[in-house]
C-alpha cells in the first residue's frame, strides 16, 4: 500500500496580514497540514521569483505567496 501524497507547501506570508492571520490561527488552535512551512516576509512584494524557484528546486510541491 502506497502512502497518501502529502504535498510540501512553502508559504511566504506578509508580516502585516497573512502572517498575522496564521498567528491568529495558532492562537485559535486551528489545525493545518504539517506539510506547510511558513516564511515570514516584511511584505509579499519582497518575494523574488528566484526564491520561489529555489523552493521548488529544494523539494517544495507548491509555493504560496500570501499578502
Amino acid at each position: 500500500m502506497t502512502e497518501a501524497f502529502e504535498p510540501r507547501i512553502l508559504a511566504f506570508c506578509c508580516h502585516y496580514c497573512a502572517y498575522a492571520a496564521a498567528d491568529l490561527a495558532g492562537v485559535m488552535r486551528l489545525n493545518y497540514p504539517t506539510g506547510i512551512r511558513i516564511v515570514e516576509v516584511p511584505c509579499s512584494g519582497r518575494v523574488e521569483v528566484s526564491e520561489i524557484l529555489h523552493a521548488f528546486e529544494h523539494g517544495a510541491d507548491g509555493v504560496m505567496v500570501a499578502g
Binding site: E48, V49, S50, L53, H54, F56, E57
Partner: protein, 226 residues
C-alpha cells in the same frame, strides 16, 4: 540603452550541449534595466537550468555571477580565475558583452543567452521601443527629434509615404508613422518650410555599409611603449 530578450530555455539547453558545470554571467547595465540579463534574471535562469537538466536526467551544476558591465575589460577581468571551474560560460549580456568575454578569455567559449534586439527605451512598464539604429550620421536635427531611420519602416528621408494613414504606418496598426509625427512637430514649431527642402540620399558609408566601425581618440589614448 541596448534592449535584449532572453533566448528560449530549450535553445539555451541546446547551446550548452553536454556541459555539466555552467556559469551564468549576468550584466548589471542595459540588460538589467530591461529585465533580460541582470542579477535577478541570471538567478532565475540558473535555477531553471538546474531544474530542467535534473528533470531530463542529466543534472547540471549551474552557478551565477553578475558583473557591473560585461563590455569593459576592467569589469570582466576579475572573472578570470573562476572560469576554469566550468565546462560552459553562458553570458546574459548583449552581443557586445558576449564578444568581450570571448575576446578577453579566448581559452573558453562564452555562449549567448540573450538575443540583442535593438537600441531603444521603455515606453511604459514592460514595453520597449526602438529609437536608434546607430547609423553614424545623426539627422535628428533635421527631423525635429524623431528618427526616421529607426522609426520609419522604409527609413525615408522625405516623408511620409502613401502608406501612412491617419498617422499610422501600413506595416502595423499599432505603429505610428514617424513622418506623421515629424510633420506634427514641424507644425507645432511653425517650421514646416524646413521639411519642404528635399533631402538627398543619405551617406550610408558612416553606417554599416563601410564595414565594422571604429573610433580612435588620440587625445584619450594612453602612451604606448615603442
Amino acid at each position: 540603452m541596448i534592449i535584449g530578450e532572453q533566448k528560449p530555455l530549450e535553445e539555451i539547453m541546446n547551446l550548452l550541449g553536454d556541459a555539466r558545470r555552467v556559469l551564468v554571467v549576468g550584466c548589471g547595465t542595459c540588460v538589467t534595466v530591461c529585465f533580460a540579463g541582470g542579477e535577478k534574471e541570471a538567478a532565475i535562469l540558473a535555477s531553471a537550468l538546474r531544474m530542467k537538466s535534473k528533470l531530463e536526467g542529466h543534472p547540471m551544476e549551474v552557478d551565477e555571477v553578475t558583473v557591473q558591465r560585461q563590455c569593459e575589460w576592467e569589469y570582466i577581468d576579475p572573472l578570470a580565475d573562476r572560469l576554469k571551474d566550468y565546462d560552459a560560460i553562458l553570458s546574459l549580456a548583449c552581443g557586445i558583452g558576449v564578444q568581450a568575454m570571448n575576446e578577453r578569455f579566448p581559452e573558453y567559449v562564452t555562449l549567448p543567452g540573450l538575443n540583442t534586439t535593438f537600441l531603444g527605451l521603455p515606453e511604459e512598464h514592460g514595453v520597449w521601443v526602438e529609437r536608434c539604429q546607430a547609423c553614424g550620421d545623426c539627422i535628428l536635427g533635421l527631423t525635429f527629434g524623431i528618427c526616421p531611420i529607426a522609426r520609419c519602416s522604409k527609413q525615408l528621408l522625405n516623408g511620409p509615404c502613401g502608406g501612412s494613414q491617419n498617422g499610422v504606418c501600413e506595416v502595423s496598426s499599432d505603429l505610428p508613422c514617424a513622418w506623421h509625427l515629424i510633420w506634427e512637430r514641424a507644425i507645432k514649431f511653425g517650421q514646416v518650410e524646413r521639411l519642404l527642402e528635399v533631402q538627398p540620399p543619405k551617406n550610408w558609408s558612416r553606417s554599416r555599409d563601410g564595414g565594422p566601425r571604429k573610433i580612435v581618440r588620440e587625445d584619450l589614448r594612453l602612451p604606448r611603449e615603442e
